[in-house]
């Protein structure tokens, strides 16, 4: 555990720098450059708002913002988890040559997508102003909710990263699971209102992502506080899983190179 914190500190600068350069590399060739980071989520929001607001007749209050908050968090989780499966393989060039604690790769990924998430949150603030949504002190709850999202994501990444090295098919399995999760998480509908009781409550409480989304919407749009007790429970679960994941990685990481 001590080693984990030490490594995190030692590689902190590398993570920042490599996330930065990855971001730069991503837009280096394109005409619109960093504008894509704003344009990309906005366009998707418009698509979903049209499909589910107009075609499927969604009736949530502040529907555009409702979807956008969902998409923002989901994108972060989705991209991190998806890339984690092949993370070790894709970074073969690095881990072949130097020793790095493998979860550092996960940090870099989270840095990249975290940055994009922050941009999206900037847009969300813009939307709050645009829709004249009255802010309340409950807005401060997004900080612990964000932390929870990061912990849960990291926990998932460490475990999947390890499995992804040894199990070739993991990528396909994760794809399917993520797709399922995407629909039951309620990015563009409210799980509580749309699913019949008691399933709505189950879907909300047993799925951390749905819980986070719901909490974010509650505190940002509707001025309600999220369920603090449940938040703490998920926090503890997330930290435990992450600790297990890091332990596993430490134990097996030197074998990774031999496999890939």
């Amino acid at each position: 555990m001590k080693r984990f914190f030490e490594d995190t500190r030692n590689y902190f600068h590398y993570v920042i720098h490599s996330a930065k350069s990855e971001l730069k590399a991503e837009v280096a060739g394109s005409y619109l450059n960093w504008i894509w980071w704003v344009l990309d989520p906005l366009c998707f929001m418009l698509i979903y708002a049209f499909i589910f607001g107009v075609v499927f007749d969604g009736k949530e209050k502040y529907f555009a913002a409702f979807i956008f908050i969902g998409l923002t968090c989901w994108n972060f989780f989705n991209k991190c988890i998806q890339s984690s499966v092949r993370m070790v393989k894709n970074n073969k060039a690095i881990i072949d040559k130097v020793y790095v604690p493998k979860f550092v790769l996960a940090y870099t990924r989270m840095g990249i997508d975290g940055f994009k998430m922050l941009i999206s949150f900037g847009i969300i603030v813009g939307m709050l102003v645009f829709f004249r949504i009255p802010p309340t002190w409950n807005i401060l709850y997004i900080l612990p909710l964000l932390l929870l999202l990061i912990i849960i994501t990291f926990a998932g990444m460490t475990i999947l990263m390890h499995l992804g090295v040894f199990i070739e098919d993991m990528h396909n399995i994760v794809q399917i699971l993520l797709r399922l999760l995407f629909y039951i998480t309620g990015i563009f509908y409210s799980v509580v209102k749309r699913l019949p009781e008691p399933y709505g409550q189950y879907a909300l409480k047993l799925n951390p992502i749905a819980f986070i989304l719901n909490g974010m919407r509650d505190c940002l749009l509707y001025g309600r506080a999220p369920n603090v007790k449940l938040m703490l429970v998920w926090m503890v679960i997330g930290i435990t899983v992450a600790a297990i994941g890091v332990r596993i990685i430490y134990k097996y990481e030197n074998g990774y190179v031999k496999v890939i």
Partner: protein, 242 residues
């Protein structure tokens, strides 16, 4: 001699059952999982004194690169120990963590940080690295526009100038054009005359080994066949290879 920089005791590295498998395959083969073990390095014991230069020779597939990686901490040893006495170590490797769309300058930082140097340390060496690589205006161009020679020149310069206590070199002395080769060779010699630096070189060139190393280890099928004074071992080795 004096204190040792590297102590290796009974090192074994196996490649084995940790093969990646597909779920489908493992359903069918659940019962007859054969564990295949390939011993890449078998029970190797040696010391390198501080400031010493050791060469490793052997035919292809005799475990030289595996041994280097085990020293660098990239592989875990299956048994035996590697004791580096707290020295920093780097594997002189081509293009660690390069981002191809970014400029050479950015990649120096990226690569250097990956090797465990701080931003300030790289800042102070930056000019030297750029001068040594001799890429001219290309240093500010994306790495993907580089020719393969330029690419390796940059990579070599980064690791050669950002000095660690122990340097492991795997067949990279033949990098770049004739001029750069000379320069890198001179740099190697400079590193070698530095009494604090310990170097382990893997090479197929018997001339390089004779010129640079004090001791040579000859690996054959993962085990040490001979170890000792450079010229004696190399004489035997050359005879063997003929």
């Amino acid at each position: 001699m004096q204190e040792n920089a590297i102590e290796v005791k009974g090192l074994c590295v196996n490649y084995r059952c940790l093969k990646s498998f597909s779920v489908k395959k493992s359903f069918f083969k659940l019962r007859k999982t054969k564990v295949e073990i390939h011993e890449a390095v078998k029970n190797v014991t040696f010391n390198v004194p501080k400031g010493g230069i050791m060469g490793i020779v052997g035919k292809n597939g005799s475990g030289k690169s595996t041994l280097l990686r085990a020293l660098a901490g990239i592989f875990s040893a299956d048994s035996g120990t590697v004791n580096l006495h707290g020295n920093s170590i780097s594997l002189l490797a081509i293009g660690v963590g390069f981002q191809k769309a970014l400029s050479g300058r950015e990649n120096i930082y990226l690569s250097g940080m990956l090797l465990g140097f701080s931003r300030e340390e790289i800042d102070s060496k930056l000019a030297e690295i750029i001068a040594f690589a001799g890429l001219g205006k290309f240093i500010n161009m994306p790495v993907k526009t580089y020719s393969s020679g330029m690419y390796s020149k940059l990579a070599f310069s980064i690791t050669a100038i950002l000095e660690t206590d122990i340097i492991l070199i795997d067949e990279v002395l033949s990098v770049g054009d004739a001029k750069f080769k000379k320069k890198s060779y001179a740099k190697m010699q400079e590193l070698i005359f530095d009494n604090d630096r310990t170097v382990v070189i893997v090479s197929h060139s018997s001339e390089t080994i004779r010129n640079l190393c004090n001791t040579v280890m000859w690996l054959h099928d993962g085990a040490i066949k001979m170890i000792g004074d450079a010229n004696t071992v190399m004489d035997e080795y050359d005879k063997f290879m003929k």
